[in-house]
């Protein structure tokens, strides 16, 4: 069979002979027919052989029909009598001369630039490239023979369709197998950080799914990430991509969390041949490079921390090994700090000290959470006063510690003024505003000052606080914690001398031994009470009759200063005519017990008189009469410095100034005493006579006062604000307090049926009475039979976790005072022991599943998917 092209003249040379044994040229006429697929067409008739016994002619075969791949041409000779004999004298396969190729891509779109070739055995391959824009090209075959259309990598012919009616037109479906790579996200550069940085073993990068999507999520922010892919031209043999090239992708979600809303998935927009498998955890498809030679697709990561998303791409069908990224869901929350300048040195650029920060980072990593300081605010130490409400700086010794001053705060002592934090609107719901302090105290309105009536047995007395701790000034209102006035109706608190027994003492009399001539009057002896209320008596001695005129005359003629002491010695009598006046005066003084007590139970008398010889006689006469009467009439009275003039125990107003704190658990009172030079009988202040036992000179003193105590707290949180005691000497426990308070902000823990019990969708929580570990301090009230049930217990405030609680302690309202050696961070009480180093598995699961777009407002009242 000859192989010939269509429409190419086909030369046939035939020899026709006759005879069986001898061959002779055929001499008669013959016809030649072309037989194509049984259709015979006579194209020469009544021909005869030439002289050489042969016949040569040409036949031009028709075109190969569109429906034919090729056809067989037979040249038949009809000869003999009546041309009844026939024989095929030539046979050829007729091939089309031109082949058309139309290249389309996988989406049946014209694909110009497809490099291919026509290959025929024995001929050089004919290189071809499909034309823009229709992706078509025609080729003229080199030889009439079978051909095939080939291409080289990266091209690949997926289909070669020859339609029955267009057998010479090849509809090719071609692909350009590229090596794919990610343009975005570029996980090898900031802001992406390897997930291993937090000690997590997942070989991926962190995607902060709780943050708003700023652009397309490819900057590590947000829960939806647009991946941009293109051809990787970097490696050996790499080829640039072409529009329409496929990038195959396989997205695998780890679904480590039970959170099921929103569900992690591959957004099908722009993804061809999408299919999912394995309960929608594996998604496949491909995207086509666009005019910019790039393609995009979006993965939705869900909101659960720790969930992983592995995105694999490849430029060849069913191969996804060109490039891979693993996105690990992380969350980021922020905090701002506020502190007085005095604390700055203990911080690192306003942030927690490095040792503390490291612990916080370590303990939050297992819940895929970063806690990052975004701002800090320092205020002057001068604001650390109750008036400025910046807390109070107390010497470390107040807390029985060494070192620098301690910042003490309470809800009153610390008040964050407007502008105290940034109030950054965009970040606020994901931020916690932390006011730092060293110690924090509280005393709610229900806790009122204790009232005391206690004994003093020394001037100064120091005591332990009987109730809670002492924080002066008051955490409630900044006033002194010692109060000695008030009352309903208002009254001052009193101190009182504690005298149980009478102290009977005979009064004493003190009289000057010699007359005091100052102001003396001749003939008169003046008796004057010199202590206490004034009282006096003039004792006039009668004049002697014979000397009377002379004496008067002399007195009238001579200035008094010139009168000698004895000038009138003989003028007046020297003996008392009667002591009645003196007796009466003394009796009156002795009868006035009130006055006696006022004077220290001592009658002090001064006798005024001239001091001449006769004057002395008169002085002695009076003194003797005075003493005689006093001694004969004096009687014991109930006298004690602690008794007032009426003989009642002294009392008086208390004074706040007597009190002071020694340290946070010790206070003292110092009673007032009179100044040193004060006469003994005037020492009536409680400190003057206070003593351990009641004696004639001392007695215990009862004082009354109010003392306001407070209790110390580790901190508190609410409304996106926290008060944190910076216990940087114990970074482990302090970091757990930070994580604990943050846990509360994240709605932990969750006791079903209690406040704020909105769970992340898909998760459940159990309390200590139904197989779980959560408990809360609310008691069921009558008529509910059991007081502590349904997770209610009588300890700690709010929802907490008792994950390592022994079963035998579980039912007890206080867990039998159990404390964990190693407990969950959400256990309700912390100390200086680092016993809460991590979140338990259950808390970890819930925190990982939490939607952390708002940690300021309660979870109650949110939509079901907002848990």
């Amino acid at each position: 069979v000859d192989e010939i092209f269509e429409e190419a003249p086909y030369t046939i040379q035939a020899r026709i002979t006759t005879g069986f044994f001898t061959s002779k040229p055929y001499t008669k006429t013959f016809d030649l027919l072309a037989d194509i697929n049984g259709t015979k067409t006579t194209f020469e008739t009544d021909k005869k052989l030439g002289g050489d016994g042969t016949y040569q002619t040409t036949y031009t075969p028709r075109k190969v029909l569109a429906t034919e791949k090729n056809y067989v041409l037979k040249i038949i000779a009809h000869y003999g009598s009546g041309k009844s004999s026939s024989t095929t004298i030539a046979k050829a396969r007729v091939w089309p001369k031109v082949v058309k190729i139309h290249a389309r891509n996988i989406k049946d779109r014209d694909y110009p630039g497809f490099d291919c070739a026509i290959e025929q055995d024995g001929a050089a391959a004919i290189p071809l490239t499909t034309n823009p824009p229709d992706g078509k090209v025609e080729a003229t075959l080199s030889m009439p023979a079978p051909y095939k259309i080939t291409c080289k990598a990266p091209f690949e012919i997926l289909e070669n369709v020859e339609k029955p009616d267009k057998r010479r037109e090849h509809e090719l479906k071609v692909v350009h197998n590229i090596k794919a790579r990610f343009v975005t996200p570029n996980i090898n550069a900031a802001p992406y950080v390897p997930d291993t940085a937090g000690g997590n073993a997942v070989d991926g990068v962190r995607q902060y799914v709780n943050l708003d999507i700023a652009t397309d999520g490819s900057d590590a922010l947000g829960s939806e990430v647009v991946c941009t892919v293109e051809a990787d031209t970097s490696g050996p043999g790499a080829v640039p991509g072409k529009e329409g090239d496929q990038v195959f992708l396989r997205v695998t979600f780890g679904r480590e969390s039970e959170r099921n809303d929103p569900e992690p998935t591959l957004d099908q927009t722009g993804v061809e041949a999408y299919a999912s498998a394995k309960k929608k955890t594996v998604h496949k498809g491909y995207v086509l490079l666009g005019a910019d030679l790039k393609a995009k697709f979006k993965v939705k990561l869900g909101l659960a921390g720790g969930d992983t998303c592995t995105v694999e791409i490849g430029g060849t069908k069913d191969k996804y090994d060109d490039a891979k990224i693993i996105l690990v869901n992380w969350r980021k929350l922020w905090y701002e700090t506020r502190y007085p300048a005095a604390m700055s040195a203990r911080l690192t650029g306003g942030d927690f000290p490095a040792s503390l920060k490291t612990k916080v980072t370590e303990r939050l990593a297992p819940v895929n959470l970063e806690y990052e300081m975004i701002d800090n605010h320092s205020y002057p130490d001068a604001d650390c006063t109750p008036a400025r409400q910046g807390g109070v700086l107390k010497p470390a010794a107040y807390f029985k510690e060494a070192g620098a001053n301690r910042l003490v705060v309470s809800s009153f002592l610390l008040n964050v003024p407007p502008g105290g934090f940034s109030e950054n609107g965009a970040r606020r719901t994901r931020s916690v505003y932390i006011s730092l302090c060293d110690r924090a105290f509280s005393n709610s309105v229900t806790l009122l000052p204790d009232v005391f009536a206690v004994e003093m047995d020394t001037v100064e007395k120091q005591w332990a606080s009987p109730s809670d701790e002492l924080m002066d000034p008051s955490p409630k209102d900044g006033t002194s914690i010692f109060k000695v006035a008030g009352g309903t109706p208002s009254a001052n608190f009193k101190w009182k001398a504690l005298i149980a027994s009478p102290h009977m003492h005979v009064p004493t009399l003190t009289v000057n031994g010699v007359p005091d001539p100052t102001g003396a009057v001749a003939g008169t002896v003046h008796i004057e009470k010199t202590r206490g209320t004034a009282s006096s008596l003039d004792v006039a001695f009668p004049a002697k009759t014979t000397d009377e005129a002379e004496a008067v005359s002399v007195l009238e003629e001579m200035p008094f200063s010139e009168v000698t002491p004895d000038a009138h010695s003989g003028t007046f009598e020297t003996a008392l005519a009667s002591s009645a006046a003196i007796d009466s005066w003394v009796d009156g003084l002795l009868a006035d017990k009130k006055e006696l007590r006022k004077c220290g139970n001592e009658l002090v008398v001064k006798i005024v008189g001239l001091n001449g010889t006769h004057d002395l006689n008169r002085f002695n006469a009076v003194k003797t009469a005075l003493e005689t009467r006093f001694n004969s009439q004096k009687a014991a009275i109930n006298y004690h410095p602690g008794l007032d003039e009426d003989g009642n125990p002294r009392e008086g107003d208390m004074d706040e100034g007597w009190f002071s704190t020694v340290d946070y658990v010790t206070f003292k009172c110092k009673l007032p005493t009179s100044p040193g030079p004060t006469a003994a009988y005037l020492k009536t202040l409680p400190g003057d006579f206070v003593g351990a036992a009641e004696s004639d000179t001392e007695c215990p003193v009862q004082i009354m006062f109010q003392l306001e105590t407070a209790y110390e707290i580790n901190g508190n949180s609410g409304d996106g604000k926290q008060l944190l005691c910076l216990r940087d000497t114990v970074p482990g426990p302090c970091s757990s307090t930070i994580c604990h308070e943050l846990g509360h902000a994240m709605g932990m823990t969750i006791v079903p049926g209690f406040n704020n019990d909105l769970l992340p969708p898909g998760l459940t929580a159990k309390h200590v009475d139904n197989g779980g570990t959560y408990y809360v301090n609310e008691r069921r009230r009558p008529p509910v039979a059991l007081t502590y049930s349904d997770g209610r217990r009588s300890l700690h405030k709010g929802g907490h976790c008792a994950n390592t609680l022994p079963k035998s302690n579980r039912k007890d309202p206080t867990f039998k005072d159990w404390e964990p050696a190693t407990g969950c961070i959400m256990w309700g009480q912390g100390g200086d022991d680092d016993s809460r180093q991590s979140f338990c598995d259950k808390c970890t699961n819930i925190i990982k599943a939490r939607r952390l777009t708002d940690v300021n407002t309660p979870f109650d009242g949110r939509g079901a998917d907002q848990g």
Partner: protein
């Protein structure tokens, strides 16, 4: 042996007297007229510093024990709170070592509903992360007396219904019982008083049937009939209880409490037509029970002497007999017996004080010490 009897304590406290007539400590039980020290009602709302009230100021050193102060009348349309104060007076050493905040119990008995509301003093501390204060060295305390004073809105803390009724407020500290302060919640005189509403509500209560006995009677306990151990019915209105003074859990897991009562029945406690009887026919080899005359609310309150725990058992106790001398009111008698362990009382070894409340009657404290460890304790904790 069912349980170990060491000493059986029989206790009866009759109905409480008028408010502010009886501050009593367990040891002295000397009624004291507190009227002179009582704050005028309005001051409970206008001032907040209860430490300066006459109660602590004037009784300090004169009285040892717990006192309750509250307004006698609360006009519920004008006031939104029920301010109350607890005064705990005593020697400094005692007040400092047996702390009210750790051991105190506050109760309010709604006399109209015969329902007891109770809370622990520690619930007044609302801080979330308090550090336990260091225990003071008792030898370094002041010598003298002190008053621990707490102020609170009982409506908030006890979640009291805000409707006309009468409350009897009582505070307990271990075995010390305060005065019983009566507080009337009523509409003010300026509010419109609609007698028809009152009449209607009264009629409604009179139509209601009581709930079935609770906890339901068991094979042996709970039991609402006279038992061998049951105390005699009180001569006058009141409740009697007997209990093993010391119960050894190692010998018996049961802690039975036996009681009897003579109490007036509220209209809604009287059994009427349509009452759903718990066991009208015999079954489980137990005889059918007769229909009770009334089902009386009696609430047990148990507090731990060491841990200050509070455990409340609201009971609905059937009464089978009408009391002698019933003068038109329905006054009934009955018995109750139950195992405190089976109703959930905790098993911590310590002394417990048991109180019983019903209307104006209060019995207690009845001391019961738990010793020993319950066998197979784990089995009970599921």
């Amino acid at each position: 042996m069912r349980f170990h009897w060491t000493t059986v304590v029989v206790l009866l406290v009759a109905a409480a007297g008028p408010a502010f007539l009886g501050g009593q400590s367990a040891k002295e039980n000397k009624p004291m007229d507190l009227t002179p020290y009582k704050l005028p009602d309005d001051l409970f709302w206008t001032t907040t510093n209860r430490s300066s009230d006459p109660m602590p100021m004037r009784l300090l050193g004169q009285y040892n024990g717990v006192l309750v102060g509250a307004p006698a009348v609360v006009p519920i349309d004008l006031r939104k709170t029920l301010p109350a104060a607890i005064y705990y007076l005593g020697p400094v050493r005692q007040v400092a070592s047996v702390k009210w905040d750790d051991h105190g119990i506050i109760t309010a008995m709604d006399l109209q509903q015969n329902r007891l509301y109770a809370m622990q003093a520690r619930e007044l501390i609302t801080e979330s992360d308090a550090i336990k204060s260091p225990r003071p060295n008792l030898d370094q305390l002041p010598k003298g007396s002190m008053a621990n004073v707490r102020s609170m809105d009982l409506r908030q803390f006890l979640k009291l219904p805000w409707e006309p009724t009468r409350f009897l407020l009582t505070a307990m500290l271990r075995d010390q019982v305060s005065n019983r302060a009566e507080v009337k919640l009523r509409r003010s005189e300026s509010a419109y008083q609609d007698p028809e509403v009152a009449k209607y509500l009264e009629a409604e209560r009179a139509r209601m049937n009581p709930p079935p006995p609770a906890p339901p009677a068991g094979v042996s306990l709970p039991n609402y009939h006279r038992m061998q151990e049951s105390p005699e019915i009180p001569e006058g209105p009141g409740i009697r209880m007997v209990q093993a003074r010391v119960a050894d859990l190692g010998r018996s897991a049961r802690v039975p409490l036996y009681g009897s009562f003579l109490l007036p029945a509220l209209p809604q406690e009287v059994v009427k037509q349509g009452y759903v009887e718990p066991r009208p026919v015999a079954r489980d080899n137990r005889p059918a029970e007769a229909r009770p005359l009334a089902v009386i609310g009696i609430t047990l309150l148990i507090t731990g002497a060491d841990d200050g725990s509070l455990f409340v058992v609201p009971m609905h106790v059937p009464a089978w007999s009408r009391a002698a001398g019933d003068d038109g009111r329905t006054v009934v008698t009955g018995y109750f017996a139950l195992d405190l362990q089976s109703v959930g009382m905790n098993t911590t070894n310590q002394t417990y004080f048991i109180y019983a409340f019903s209307g104006e009657s209060m019995a207690g404290p009845l001391a019961c010490a738990l010793v020993g460890r319950r066998q197979h304790e784990e089995e009970y904790e599921q």
